[in-house]
């Protein structure tokens, strides 16, 4: 599984570049690199449906962010004054978070051997009960269809919110 490590290291590098680059357009393009690395990870982890959806969503996020940044090309960012207390606080919080994360990871099952208590039922009964050959689709649209209904509701709400924020008519000057 060395290729997973290599791609994840590449994603961390791209994330650092995206956060620390000065121009906004450069940051947005580096964020696209993170998303494409995630697509490759999903393909290697045997999740082809997720890879397709992540590819489409990443391109849409790239288009949205470029729309937000393409009008201005001046790096108008007031940088925080860096002193030793700031750096010390940052390292302290990151260290505490990573330590607690490490302790929490010790309780998980090992990588590559998941406990599939619920999923075994889905795998053995998907074909008889739903008739779908793709088990992910059968979970998404049959076993857990109310989650998908909630997802569509959230998507509708966000679209209505975006239209209400960006409307041109009926706005007080």
């Amino acid at each position: 599984m060395i290729e997973l490590h290599i791609i994840l290291f590449f994603m961390i590098l791209a994330a650092l570049i995206a956060v620390e680059m000065r121009g906004l357009l450069n940051s947005v393009i580096a964020l696209g690199a993170v998303g494409m690395g995630l697509v490759l990870q999903f393909l290697l982890l045997r999740a082809p449906d997720l890879a397709i959806v992540q590819l489409v969503v990443e391109i849409l996020i790239l288009i949205l962010l470029i729309r937000a940044t393409v009008k201005l090309d001046r790096p108008s960012e007031s940088t925080l004054k860096e002193n030793w207390a700031y750096v010390l606080c940052l390292l302290l919080f990151a260290g505490v978070f990573l330590w607690f994360g490490y302790r929490a990871l010790e309780g998980l099952p090992l990588f590559g051997a998941p406990e599939m208590n619920v999923s075994d039922y889905y795998i053995s009964n998907a074909m008889e009960q739903t008739g779908a050959a793709n088990i992910v689709t059968s979970i998404l649209l049959d076993f857990r269809a109310y989650d998908t209904l909630g997802e569509v509701t959230v998507l509708f709400t966000s679209i209505v919110g975006a239209i209400a924020v960006l409307r041109k008519i009926g706005r007080k000057q």
């Binding site: 906004l24 998303g35 999903f42 449906d49 108008s76 960012e77 050959a133 997802e151």
Partner: protein, 113 residues
């Protein structure tokens, strides 16, 4: 184990951008990085060695092992919801830029008086 820990580092980078950076677009970028890290972590937890993608084929025996399909279905929902969140955030950021002419939150606070 190292893979899990590297996703935590990715999460930390996104959190750093979300908390420290003063540019609104940088904050949105940090949020997207956090989303990517959490999605990747949950898919890694459901991975199984020497297993197939959860798609049934003709003539496939009962003994074939699949990777965990439940996190994949839930993360599919999560990715699409993430797109909706980013769309709403970008709309609000564009509106703030139209009103104040900057993405910098410290300058916006100064403009208010």
């Amino acid at each position: 184990m190292t893979l899990y820990f590297m996703t935590f580092i990715l999460f930390c980078i996104g959190m750093y951008a979300l908390v420290v950076k003063k540019n609104l677009v940088k904050k949105i970028i940090g949020l997207v990085i956090i989303e990517n890290a959490v999605n990747l972590f949950l898919i890694l937890v459901g991975f199984r060695f020497d297993a197939e993608a959860p798609i049934l084929e003709e003539g496939m025996g009962k003994m074939v092992a699949f990777v965990d399909p439940l996190p994949q279905a839930m993360i599919l929902t999560s990715i699409v919801i993430g797109l909706g969140v980013v769309a709403l955030l970008v709309a609000i950021a564009i509106r703030i830029y139209e009103k104040y002419g900057t993405f910098d939150i410290s300058q916006i606070r100064e403009l208010r008086g």
